[in-house]
């Protein structure tokens, strides 16, 4: 199991909440070689989903060119203090992680 994500959700002007997520993942590109000259296989987050109070609001697909320990910021409309924001990710090895934060 991967390390937990760090999620911060803050309510902003206009009835929105700004969500910032920091995931912990190696994001290996599959382009690099190790010291023996063998290609290091790609290992990266393929899919990210965000839910607001249990309803899916955003889905993203990523390639290996997203940086190591990925950062993501987006805004959820109509989210107010106390609401729950849940983030899920799935990597290309099938590993998954889900974390939740409360809008402040």
């Amino acid at each position: 199991m991967a390390d937990p994500m760090r999620i911060r959700a803050q309510s902003a002007a206009g009835g929105k909440a700004t969500v910032r997520v920091l995931m912990s993942h190696e994001m290996e590109t599959g382009q690099r070689r190790d010291s023996a000259g063998k290609v290091i296989p790609a290992w990266f987050i393929q899919e990210v989903r965000a839910e607001h109070n249990g309803k899916q609001v955003m889905r993203a697909e990523w390639s290996p060119s997203v940086s190591k320990n990925p950062f993501l910021q987006f805004s959820v409309r109509g989210a107010k203090a106390g609401d729950k924001v849940t983030i899920h990710w799935t990597d290309n090895k099938g590993d998954k992680r889900t974390d939740e934060a409360t809008v402040s």
């Binding site: 590109t29 609001v57 993203a60 697909e61 997203v66 950062f71 805004s75 959820v76």
Partner: protein, 153 residues
């Protein structure tokens, strides 16, 4: 055993191996992941694979990022648009081995404004691409210079 028979056996074994590999690959890949789009080398190919038409430049789609990135492994970029009717937003790095870095499905509940960090192998144009509900593809572009590449370690 005559040599031609042996040869034929070796060949068919090799062919079988190839087929098995090819057959196994789709099982590994997740059906939901747009593999064709992520394997595309150019903006136009990726846009097509994501279900859009020919890309056109637009002032209304903006890409944010530094002019010069010191470390190509971590380049903060953002894509945003104020347009309505956006289906997907994408970030593409022209000179990376595969152009497409990330795709975001936009719903009514989120703004078409995403910020993340990408790797860049070398100085390149970076595109924010908006795929509209009617299939139009609009993009904004910015050149980001990289002093230290992010791929190859």
């Amino acid at each position: 055993m005559n040599p031609s028979r042996r040869e034929a056996l070796t060949h068919s074994a090799a062919l079988f191996g190839l087929l098995a590999t090819a057959g196994l690959l789709p099982a590994h890949a997740q059906a939901s992941w747009s593999q064709a789009a992520f394997e595309a080398k150019s903006l136009a190919d990726a846009a097509k694979a994501l279900g859009g038409g020919a890309p056109a430049e637009s002032k209304d789609v903006t890409i944010t990022g530094p002019d010069i990135a010191e470390n190509g492994a971590v380049v903060p970029v953002g894509c945003s648009t104020a347009l309505t009717g956006v289906k997907r937003m994408a970030i593409m790095v022209e000179k990376n081995p595969n152009a497409l870095a990330a795709v975001f499905d936009v719903s009514d509940a989120v703004d078409a404004n995403f910020t993340t960090r990408v790797k860049m192998g070398q100085s390149s144009n970076v595109y924010a691409v908006a795929i509209m509900n009617d299939g139009k593809v609009l993009y904004g572009v910015k050149e980001i210079k990289v002093t230290l590449g992010g791929c190859g370690g």
